[in-house]
């Protein structure tokens, strides 16, 4: 390397294409608009429940957050499996897994919190160590651990992360079927379950619930896009820093040899 060779700092920046940035902005605007509309419907337009009263309005947060947690961890598991599969191994799958799990942890935390706030007026308790709540709490801590594992980094970390994500995903069906497998305080699913006594009969309530699910899903997509972009920028930066360090090391060796 000659002294006039550009330093790695002048390497082409890992800039994001303006079109992609514009799309993300539109997705963000759409997400905020749909979340605001959901809040309007959930708090003002949808009627109160005939049994639970206004406390049932927490349904429009609790159910979408739980749905999104399932979706996020499912995507994490699929992306991890695709990373482990040699033919489809790409860092982008690992990044998607990490981005999705982060939103999943947020949504699981919200599911637990909103469920607890809802349980206080309806069940008379903030928390019970019953199957659904306990397995959901375990799910939350499993993916917090997965997030911590990702931060360790190092050689082979992507493979290790992918295996951990697949192991953690085992708890998702356990959470889902816990209300069927064990006697729980938590009711069974009411959206796709015709056997249930609890039904959402009011069309406005159903509309609000589906609007909330759609809004949260948009939020998930938007956050994943932003998080993956952040992963790309950080990875590009780390690569350039490494290249910079290697070239500086080579240059520092070359100078004494030339002068001596």
């Amino acid at each position: 390397m000659t002294p006039n060779t550009p330093t790695p700092n002048t390497l082409t920046p890992n800039t994001v294409k303006p079109v992609a940035r514009l799309r993300a902005s539109w997705l963000g605007a759409l997400t905020l608009l749909s979340l605001a509309t959901t809040a309007l419907f959930a708090l003002l337009i949808a009627p109160a429940d005939s049994v639970q009263g206004d406390a049932a309005r927490l349904l429009y947060l609790h159910v979408p957050a739980a749905w999104l947690a399932y979706l996020a961890f499912f995507v994490t598991a699929v992306a991890s499996a695709l990373y482990l599969w040699p033919r489809t191994r790409r860092s982008a799958w690992d990044q998607l897994a990490g981005a999705s799990a982060e939103v999943g942890v947020l949504c699981t935390g919200l599911t637990l919190f909103v469920g607890s706030v809802w349980g206080r007026p309806i069940w008379g308790t903030w928390w019970e160590w019953e199957a659904r709540l306990t397995t959901t709490a375990i799910l939350f801590f499993l993916y917090v651990g997965y997030g911590a594992l990702r931060r360790i980094g190092g050689p082979g970390s992507e493979r290790r992360n992918a295996i951990a994500a697949l192991i953690a995903f085992v708890d998702v069906p356990v959470v889902h079927f816990s209300v069927s497998w064990w006697t729980t305080l938590h009711q069974e699913g009411s959206v796709f379950n015709d056997r249930m006594e609890v039904q959402i009969d009011d069309p406005l309530m159903s509309l609000t619930l589906w609007l909330a699910v759609a809004s949260f899903t948009l939020f998930y997509a938007w956050c994943c896009v932003l998080r993956m972009r952040l992963f790309e920028l950080e990875a590009g930066r780390a690569e350039r820093d490494l290249a910079n360090a290697i070239e500086q090391r080579i240059a520092s060796r070359a100078v004494p040899m030339g002068t001596g």
């Binding site: 009263g53 947060l61 909103v114 706030v117 939020f219 932003l226 972009r229």
Partner: protein, 53 residues
């Protein structure tokens, strides 16, 4: 007025706060990463010891 509105307000405010905080966190990190990517120092960061600037 239904006495459960307090619980509803708590649930909605915390959820809005959590979603907003996460988005803000992502946005700020992304802005910082873009600045570093473009070769500019991140806002609020001091130049490294011995750096020309």
């Amino acid at each position: 007025m239904d006495s459960n509105w307090g619980y509803v307000a708590l649930g909605y405010m915390v959820t809005a706060g959590a979603l907003g905080a996460y988005c803000t966190h992502l946005g700020l990190r992304l802005r910082r990463a873009r600045r570093l990517d473009a070769g500019r120092p991140a806002e609020g960061s001091a130049p490294a010891c011995g750096a020309p600037e």
